[in-house]
């Protein structure tokens, strides 16, 4: 019976090891017992709001210049930053110590979550956007934080994979107060219902008109204008300023292409333009398996129709192959399209002279170093914070994400309720000013009242384009603002009732 003894000995050893490795603290205690809710009174809301100023100031301030900083004697926060414009963010009408809070916030920190694609398909872009947000929060923290609290970023990598996105959401849901970035449409829609259940809000890094659907994207707060309105603005501007009379519309199949091309078609009809080739859904999207699919059908149709303008809702790589193909076959019209159709990175390719000559770009926010009030702050902070990164437009996206989050949190702090419910309520009434970086944004009232109708029209200028790291200085992404924020008559009159393009499902 030595075997029996051996088993007993082995089990005893295992037991000892297990006991030694055990944790004395009850394990698994991280399952989201919300931190103690302070039930501070919210008295004092009658006093006027101090001017919050700064890049992300809520525009609803009453303009009183009596700064009410340090109302509650909580002096640790309000005067840490040297920058006087934002130093009084702690000076909301409610004493920071009296603010109610629950998950993701305590007396000293506010935890802001990010579900970012740091290793998946869009990692090159999203990592830079994420870095910009880091720089943004560093700046906010240096200026005293929000409501006397420092911001702590909780960044999780979703690898552009839906199951991973859900898993990481699960990991941070009981840990953060707000999600300042959720990369990807399928990913964000997979957590849309959970967001509602958890009373948590997310700012999507995805422009999908479905978020406007109250049943679906209730807690997903999308920023900037829609592809549909962007198309209307683009076509009307080109019609008035470049005398475009005939147009070809090309797009990817699916929601993005559908929304963009529907807007273009509506605009063409309203402006009396002739659609000589409707190639909506006809462009073959590249996939992981076939990065450069054959676009010759679309190219030959464009050349044959010979329009004044090709309006595209595609991506930069595909634009490259279609543009070079069509121009190679003798087409000489203008090109334009929804925002992700063009990227300044195309100026690093042999296509650059063609883009310089034929492409008019449309965007929903400003690009790097455009002359707007808020830009200097971005450039300075980014150059100091991340001198190694190359000059790029995407930092503005990260920056504005931070601005939206800050505005929502500050609004919640002002009302003295930074519980999850309070933050959701704040998001539904906040007015975000991007200080010129993007059209102002709000989600208060009916969609038709708050839908963003402005976009920007840029010219592509190859001479200005200069690759450089931020630290070196002198880098440029080669844009020249022609007009913006621009609202076309069509967009101004447009009655928003829902997405232009009804995706099936």
């Amino acid at each position: 019976m030595t075997k029996k003894r051996r088993i007993i000995a082995a089990l005893t050893c295992l037991g000892l090891i297990a006991a030694a490795c055990g944790d004395d603290e009850p394990a698994g205690s991280d399952t989201g017992a919300p931190s103690d809710t302070t039930t501070g009174d919210t008295a004092g809301t009658g006093t006027t709001t101090g001017e919050t100023g700064g890049p992300a100031s809520t525009t609803g301030d009453t303009g009183s210049d009596t700064t009410t900083a340090d109302t509650g004697g909580d002096t640790t926060t309000a005067d840490t930053g040297g920058d006087t414009t934002t130093a009084e963010t702690g000076g909301s009408s409610v004493d920071p110590a009296d603010i109610e809070f629950d998950v993701g916030i305590d007396e000293e920190t506010i935890r802001v979550g990010m579900l970012a694609d740091l290793s998946g398909a869009f990692a090159p872009l999203v990592t830079e956007i994420t870095e910009a947000q880091r720089v943004y929060w560093d700046k906010v923290n240096a200026d005293g934080g929000i409501a006397g609290r420092q911001i702590e970023l909780v960044v999780e990598d979703n690898a552009y994979d839906v199951p991973t996105h859900l898993e990481k959401y699960e990991a941070i849901r009981d840990d953060v107060a707000i999600i300042s970035q959720s990369t990807g449409s399928p990913h964000t829609s997979a957590i849309a219902q959970n967001l509602v259940d958890d009373d948590l809000i997310a700012i999507p890094l995805s422009w999908y008109s479905g978020w406007a659907d109250a049943d679906f994207g209730q807690n997903v707060f999308e920023t900037y204008t829609s592809y549909c309105i962007e198309s209307m603005n683009g076509l009307e501007w080109l019609n008035k300023n470049r005398d475009v009379q005939t147009v070809a519309i090309i797009s990817f199949p699916g929601e993005y292409g559908g929304d963009g091309s529907t807007g273009a078609r509506m605009a063409a009809e309203a402006l009396g333009l002739e659609v000589v080739y409707d190639g909506a859904d006809q462009v073959v999207p590249p996939t992981a398996e076939n990065a450069n699919p054959d676009q010759s059908a679309v190219i030959s149709q464009i050349v044959e129709a010979d329009p004044d303008l090709v309006w595209a809702s595609i991506n930069p790589a595909t634009l490259g192959s279609i543009m070079s193909g069509a121009i190679g076959q003798g087409f000489e019209g203008l090109w334009s399209g929804n925002s992700p159709t063009y990227s300044f990175k195309l100026l690093g390719t042999e296509l650059a002279p063609l883009l310089d000559q034929y492409y008019i770009a449309s965007t929903y926010i400003v690009t790097w170093d455009t002359d707007v009030p808020g830009m200097e702050e971005v450039v300075t902070a980014m150059t100091e914070g991340k001198p190694d990164l190359p000059v790029s437009d995407v930092y503005i996206l990260g920056w504005t994400e931070g601005q939206v989050t800050q505005a929502i949190l500050e609004r919640a702090a002002e009302s003295g309720d930074m519980t999850r419910a309070g933050i959701v309520a704040a998001a539904n009434e906040v007015e975000v000013s991007f200080n010129g970086l993007a059209p102002d944004q709000t989600w208060a009232g009916e969609p038709n009242d708050f839908v963003v109708r402005e976009s920007y029209i840029y010219d592509v200028v190859l001479d200005q384009y200069q690759e450089a790291s931020l630290g070196e200085g002198g880098g440029s992404t080669g844009w020249e603002l022609l007009e913006g924020p621009y609202t076309s008559d069509l967009a101004a009159d447009y009655q928003y009732e829902g997405p232009c393009f009804e995706p099936t499902g």
């Binding site: 690898a159 199951p163 399928p186 992981a288 990164l389």
Partner: protein, 416 residues
């Protein structure tokens, strides 16, 4: 009596699932741990390597591994036991998932769905996939080995193409559509008889939706293990192995090749279909690109790393492959913590991790420059290297390593 591992006095004892009492007790403990895993129980949560698996986010990964385990057992039958290399497994999972959403999903504007209960959509998903699998099977009689692998790659692309031209089934390409949740209904009534996805109260315990989902998937995996084991140790299993080892010889011995390849494809696709439906329902909303070639390759890696042809190996491989990315991430975090701690150990880890400019192998910043790679890229490298290493040195995979450990301890302390 206790029984000896390799001493069999009857055919029955040789083919039994758990021949010795040691194995039976070990299996009993293992099953008990797996069942109690998600609950924060005093003993279980003390076990090293087990206690954190019950946490919310880890439980998701474990559940995913359990679901993938069902599909892995499917491809193990086809590729491991019957020797038919298939890169179309993701396609069959997709067929299962879309059959499930067609049968059980709710119709939307422009999407089809019949809102049937789970006892129709889950088996239906398996059956539809099995049917498609059996249509493909005759091709396997004509082409062999690598050529079959290449032929089945085509399925994946056909699948993704079909999902594009039938948005009525697959939903909009950006977001996919939402799958029915795991609820047991008798028919289409409002409140489910038993909900497996919402928080609730079972017997004397509060139980969360995630825990319920895990238990249901675990039960289905256990059933699949039984089915799979029983197929392998039966006449069918032996026929499949004969075909794998030499198909012409098998046919000469009277094993009808077409019939058994049909069975192999059918059962394998059935399991893939079930797993696909469960997975989609578990995630809730998936775009069609989920069922791509990479997923198929992942399953090949699972059975190669785990050990082709063995049930335990397939499961080990699944858990390994599904959980490794997260482990790598945790490891990178741990290393970066260690490197900051100072001391000789800290110095060592400081040499391993890189924070941007300094030398290191593992990057801990979001943007990696130069030689260092972020953990997320490293796990893909390790994964590839492991497949090669296992193929060269340990064809039985993790299962083979387990065998070696077991045999070592069998003779302990006189192992030489």
């Amino acid at each position: 009596m206790w029984g000896r591992p390799n001493l069999h006095t009857s055919y029955r004892s040789e083919t039994s699932l758990l021949p010795t009492w040691t194995q039976r007790v070990a299996m009993g403990i293992f099953v008990a741990v797996m069942v109690l895993l998600p609950f924060n129980l005093p003993v279980i949560n003390q076990l090293p390597f087990v206690r954190f698996l019950g946490d919310q986010d880890w439980l998701r990964i474990v559940t995913q591994a359990v679901i993938f385990g069902i599909a892995a057992l499917g491809i193990n039958l086809l590729t491991g036991v019957a020797g038919q290399v298939s890169l179309g497994h993701a396609f069959f999972m997709g067929v299962g998932a879309y059959s499930a959403v067609y049968l059980g999903g709710s119709p939307g504007s422009g999407t089809w769905g019949h809102e049937l209960p789970i006892w129709i959509w889950l088996p239906g998903a398996g059956l539809c996939a099995a049917l498609v699998g059996m249509i493909v099977a005759p091709a396997a009689v004509r082409v062999r080995g690598l050529y079959l692998g290449i032929a089945t790659v085509g399925l994946v692309f056909i699948g993704i193409h079909l999902s594009r031209i039938f948005p009525e089934i697959s939903g909009p390409s950006e977001t996919g559509r939402s799958w029915p949740s795991l609820d047991l209904r008798l028919w289409k009534e409002e409140t489910p008889l038993v909900s497996f996805s919402d928080d609730g109260h079972w017997l004397w315990f509060d139980i969360s939706g995630a825990q319920k989902t895990y238990l249901v998937c675990l039960l289905l995996l256990a059933l699949t293990v039984l089915v799979s084991k029983n197929i392998i140790r039966s006449r069918t299993g032996r026929a499949l192995q004969a075909i794998r080892d030499r198909d012409i010889a098998a046919e000469v011995m009277g094993v009808p090749e077409t019939k058994y390849k049909l069975i192999a494809f059918g059962v394998s696709s059935f399991l893939a279909g079930i797993a696909g439906a469960l997975f989609a329902s578990f995630i809730g909303r998936l775009p069609p690109e989920t069922w791509d070639l990479l997923l198929s390759v992942e399953f090949i890696a699972i059975i190669l790393i785990g050990g082709a042809g063995t049930v335990a190996g397939a499961l080990m491989g699944t858990f390994f492959v599904v959980m490794m990315p997260r482990f790598m991430e945790e490891l990178a975090g741990w290393m970066s913590e260690q490197s900051e701690s100072g001391g000789p150990a800290g110095k060592f880890w400081d040499g391993v991790v890189s924070r941007g400019d300094d030398f290191g192998v593992v990057a801990t910043t979001d943007i990696a420059r130069g030689f260092a790679l972020p953990a997320s890229s490293l796990d893909a490298l390790i994964y590839g290297a492991l497949v090669i290493v296992f193929l060269l040195f340990e064809p039985l995979g993790l299962y083979g390593i387990w065998l070696k450990i077991r045999n070592y301890w069998k003779g302990w302390p006189f192992t030489y």
